[in-house]
Amino acid sequence: MSIIDELQSLKAEALASIADAETLSQLDSVRVTFLGKKGSLTRVLRGVGFLPAEERPVVGKISNEVRAVLEAAIQERQAALAEADLAARVSADAIDVTLPGRKRLPGRKHLINQIAEEVVDIFLGLGYMVAEGPEVELDHYNFTALNHPPTHPARSATDTFYVRDLSQGLDEDQGPVTEVLLRTHTSPVQVRVMERQKPPVYVIVPGRVYRRDIADPSHLPQFQQIEGLAVDEGITFGDLKGTLDYVCKELFGRDRMTRFRPHFFPFTEPSAEVDVSCGICAGSGCRFCKKTGWLEILGCGIVDPNVFGYVDVDPEVHTGFAFGMGVERIAALRYDIPDLRMLVEGDMRFLRQF
């Protein structure tokens, strides 16, 4: 058999082996067998030395062709096998994508603080600063400087929590009413702010307040209030209306209306209660709004000149408005919370809903 025939049969044999190779490693051993340093092709070519010189170029050319063909075949087979291999691996890797994801959920902010922060952010946008004050307050800031007469019923020990005054003798019976109390509203911060800052004053005051109510579905002895105060030259009742109307629309929706009903508070005059139109019946009256079409949402008014008297602001030069809203009330209206006590129980199933 001539070398050329040998090469041709080697080529045929090798192509068959390549086609038969089932795995990449089988293919590699086929490559070594035929094309390796000690492989068949090398072995066949060793015989070239015995050929006459004029035949050598022909054999050389054919052997190069055989090598090229085989290398191409191997490469092709290799690609096919790699493709099949990947397909097999991919198929083996298939998972049930409906299994739950691995997650560490971020925690949730308490509903009440979410709303408080929302309100604060609205006022930051309107150019207000956030002010704070103590939760244990002096009667002076909570009542007297807010124009509450000495006999005002809110000062009674049935309405307000009083705190033992440790600047007085310890053994003394201080009676039920002392000069120290748990603030019943965030309004004392109005006085504290105006004591240390001359107008213009634009502040919003979120904070915890306390009243002697038995905890039940619609009352808590502690709750969150947000107070607002604007004192400047030329502040008007119209400014108060515009501000609160804007805030209510931001909080409840652009389609909601507000109305201002004259009311009485000791530290504002004129005073008003603000209602927002019922979101369930759009003002036509339903059970939720007790058939009135309106939901009471906050109290407000023009700062009473007597309050300015306590903080040395001239009411002939400056006017101001103030308002206060209960955050729990907003939460109850927005989410229809059936029982306010859920807000202080810490039930994970409740907290994670908001």
């Binding site: 603080n113 309107l126 119209g238 201002f260």
Partner: protein
């Protein structure tokens, strides 16, 4: 304040439908809390005609009747009263009716006889009269017609919320005046002048005010020879429509005038007064400490010198403005009445009624402020009615102690000023019209200013701003156009502290904790329960009047509340609990008026981050999860100064507790809650908890961060397992490593802690990955190995360690 529309319409024209009328009142400051229809409570009471009346065979005091109520099927009724005859017309309460006294009529068996309804007495229908007698109606009363319809008692009653500044609206005349002003009508004021006869009042009665600070005015009239009896139906109906009970003609007249004019009146039996030379001498004075008075309700009350009494020479006979005394009470035998119409100091009445827990219609009106100028009108009106209804003779003249007569207050309203406060353009004429309609005398003092004379019944109007409010509420707040404040160059921005607190808040949530809120007042015995303690000089911030002993002190720590929340969850089958709270904690010490308030951030973790995961990678939360939270917090605040000091804190489990330091300063604590503490608060351990002082966190926070170059050359990492004694902390070993590290040591990471086979008892193996890196070249193993080996030798010497496996 209950307002009968029927009554009101006699005093002012109302042409609005009820809903529109209610809205108008609401929008002008008189809140209508409820609208009721009177007569509804007499639903089911109809007029019947007695067809048959026979003695009950088994009971002497009962009669058995058949009563026609127009249904064609006469009712069988057993009855205890006997003052009626066959053919009489009587009110019959049918089965299902509920009477004003709360009694619901049911079909009943009385001594063997079925009773299908009840014939009623006047008091059973809320009217005055004899409770033992049936109310027999005139013969022409139509059978089958509803009783309330027949009586004309069907009425709309408005329940008004009268704010404390408006005592004048606690009367029908006052409400009528208000209604007139806000609806553009004119009110009609009821008044009557009594015809006088007999000897003048001054010959029989004298009055003197000893304490004028508590009683600005005291007036009286004498009505002789009255006949006490039931009130005529119109009078009984009037007082019941205002929420009172009909008692007798005299009491009803005093109530009627109080409801009508707002002036409380009191009637004494004049014959019971101690006399001085034939004259009943009445003195208004402070009570003596310990003086005793038996009030109309039969209670013996011990008085003190802060209370005001009406007295005669025998002692106190009435508590001024609050309640009359038993000894001078008007009885069915009374003939001569001394009628009191006075004005008392609001705070004095308020104090007295509160300290004796006696609140009456009178005290409620006096404590909001009476009108001294209104006393005589009311006196005359009541005297005239007593003459007319009780057939009394009104003695000529009045007794009147009025040391300092009150006068109208003069105020100015600058209309421009008013409009600049309101943001309106209300014309001066319109302002004047509103104030006049409210009962003020208004004269323009110039083109821009009104001079306003405020009558004494509006004692709440003291300043110009009070007039501004009157104008705007009647003019209409809804007409004020909405604007936003101008103001120059103001910027809304959180303070740095507020921004940091928001950061802390956000980090707590980012690491997986949920925000909660707990009560700020807690149980003082929680101090023992949690095995915590107050500082040496510290005391509880104690509430004088707590709702309960469990809420008697302000919290000194967030822990008790948070542990109770853990317990709350666990008892409801929620075992994975991750909570935090940012809130105020309180502390105080002797001599302090206000306590110290600190903002704290606290957390509790128990269970797993996520239980029952199919992938099996959940672990029970322990100390290191809590520590991870604190580390994340420090990292987010840009603080590198976080360290823990091993510390025994009584409320935490020993060996699993530490103090948290920031820049070597105390910032709080962290650990697993002591099992005894958990048990005392009803919670199941293990529970990891921490509490940090927010200001300590903020002191260590750094706002500015600096750029450090990202390494450009790879690191070479060697692992080393060091066996050390159990007492040697990881922190100590790490410090030793870092100290011995030299310039090439880049990072030190603990990746395993091992105890057991191959490690002697009492020791542990800590496996570290040490990375070496140079900023300017790629290091080779050969270059690093000697450095590493030298480091290991030094560390072994420093912490008495040896390499694991050697």
């Amino acid at each position: 304040m209950l307002v009968s529309m029927k009554w009101l319409k006699e005093l002012v024209d109302v042409d609005l439908a009820v809903p529109d009328f209610v809205e108008r009142l609401d929008m002008t400051g008189t809140a209508v809390e409820a609208v009721r229809t009177r007569g509804e409570e007499l639903e089911g009471v109809v007029i019947g005609s007695v067809l048959m009346k026979e003695p009950h065979p088994d009971a002497d005091k009962l009669v058995y009747c058949r009563v026609d109520i127009g249904t064609g099927d006469p009712l069988r009724i057993v009855c205890g009263a006997t003052n009626f005859e066959v053919g009489d017309k009587v009110p019959v309460a049918c089965v299902g009716a509920t009477l004003p006294n709360g009694l619901t009529i049911k079909k009943a068996k009385l001594r063997g006889f079925t009773s299908e309804g009840m014939m009623c007495s006047a008091p059973e229908l809320g009217l005055g009269g004899d409770a033992t007698r049936l109310l027999v109606l005139p013969p022409d009363a139509p059978v089958g017609v509803r009783f309330s319809e027949y009586q004309g008692t069907t009425d709309t009653i408005l329940e008004l919320e009268v704010t404390p500044n408006r005592p004048d609206c606690l009367s029908m005349a006052g409400v009528a005046r208000e209604v007139a002003a806000v609806t553009g009508k004119t009110a009609r004021r009821p008044s009557s002048a009594p015809a006088e006869s007999g000897t003048p009042v001054t010959e029989s009665v004298s009055v003197e005010i000893a304490d004028p600070d508590l009683c600005p005015r005291y007036t009286g009239r004498l009505i002789r020879g009255v006949k006490i009896g039931p009130s005529p139906p119109w009078l009984a109906e009037r007082v019941t429509s205002a929420g009172a009970r009909s008692v007798n003609n005299i009491v009803d007249i005093t109530n009627l005038v109080m409801f009508e004019l707002g002036q409380p009146l009191h009637a004494f039996d004049a014959s019971t007064l101690a006399t001085r030379e034939g004259v009943g001498a009445v003195t208004v004075r402070r009570a003596r400490d310990g003086e005793v008075l038996t009030t109309l309700d039969g209670q013996r009350r011990t008085l003190d010198s802060e209370m005001l009494v009406i007295a005669d020479d025998s002692g106190a006979i009435a508590l001024a403005g609050v309640m009359g005394g038993e000894s001078t009470e008007v009885t069915s035998e009374t003939r001569d009445i001394l009628l009191e119409s006075a004005c008392f100091n609001p705070s004095s009445v308020s104090r007295t009624s509160r300290s004796l827990a006696l609140i009456s219609e009178a005290s409620m009106r006096f404590e909001r402020g009476g009108d001294p100028q209104g006393c005589v009108d009311a006196l005359d009106r009541a005297a005239a009615l007593m003459a007319e209804i009780a057939r009394g003779q009104v003695a000529p003249g009045i007794v009147d102690a009025y040391p300092v007569p009150a006068s109208d207050r003069l105020l100015e309203l600058r209309v421009e000023r008013m409009n600049s406060i309101l943001g309106t353009d209300i014309p001066i004429e319109e302002s004047a019209a509103i104030l006049s309609a409210l009962g003020m005398e208004v004269t323009p003092s110039d083109s821009k200013t009104l001079s306003v004379s405020v009558p004494t019944f509006r004692s709440d109007l003291e300043r110009e701003i009070d007039l501004v409010e009157e104008v705007v509420r009647a003019w209409g707040m809804e007409r004020v156009s909405s604007t936003l404040p101008g103001g120059r160059g103001r910027i809304g921005r959180l303070t740095p502290r507020q921004r940091w607190i928001r950061r802390i808040d956000a980090t707590m949530r980012a690491v997986g904790l949920n925000e909660t809120m707990t009560y700020a007042f807690i149980d003082p015995t929680d101090l023992e329960r949690t095995r915590m303690s107050l500082g040496e000089e510290e005391r509880f911030v104690e509430i004088v009047n707590p709702m309960s002993e469990e809420q008697a002190v302000m919290r000194w720590s967030l822990l008790p509340g948070l542990l109770r929340s853990v317990s709350y969850n666990q008892r409801r089958g929620v075992f994975d609990v991750h909570l935090y709270e940012i809130g105020t904690v309180f502390s105080t010490s002797s001599g302090r008026k206000l306590p110290r308030e600190h903002t704290a951030v606290g957390g509790v973790l128990t269970g797993a981050w996520s239980s029952q995961v199919w992938s099996g990678d959940s672990h029970p939360l322990d100390f290191f999860d809590g520590k991870g939270v604190v580390e994340a917090l420090a990292e987010d605040l840009g603080s590198t100064g976080l360290s823990l000091r091993v510390s025994e804190l009584d409320w935490l489990q020993p060996g699993r507790s530490a103090e948290v330091l920031l820049d070597r300063k105390a910032a709080g604590w962290l650990g697993e809650v002591h099992p005894k503490v958990a048990a005392a608060l009803g919670a199941e351990p293990p529970i990891v908890a921490f509490e940090l002082d927010v200001d300590a966190l903020l002191d260590a926070a750094h706002d500015t961060r600096t750029y450090t170059e990202i390494p450009r050359f790879p690191a070479v990492t060697f692992d080393v397992a060091l066996v050390v004694d159990e007492s040697v902390t990881a922190e100590r070993v790490e410090q030793a490593i870092r100290k011995s590290g030299g310039a090439l040591l880049d990072s030190v990471r603990l990746f395993d802690v091992y105890r057991g086979k191959g490690v002697p008892e009492g020791s542990k193996s800590l496996a570290w990955a040490l990375s070496y890196r140079a900023p300017d070249r790629t290091l080779t193993d050969d270059e690093v190995r000697p450095v590493h080996e030298k480091l290991v030798r030094k560390v072994c010497a420093a912490v008495n360690a040896h390499l694991r496996g050697e």
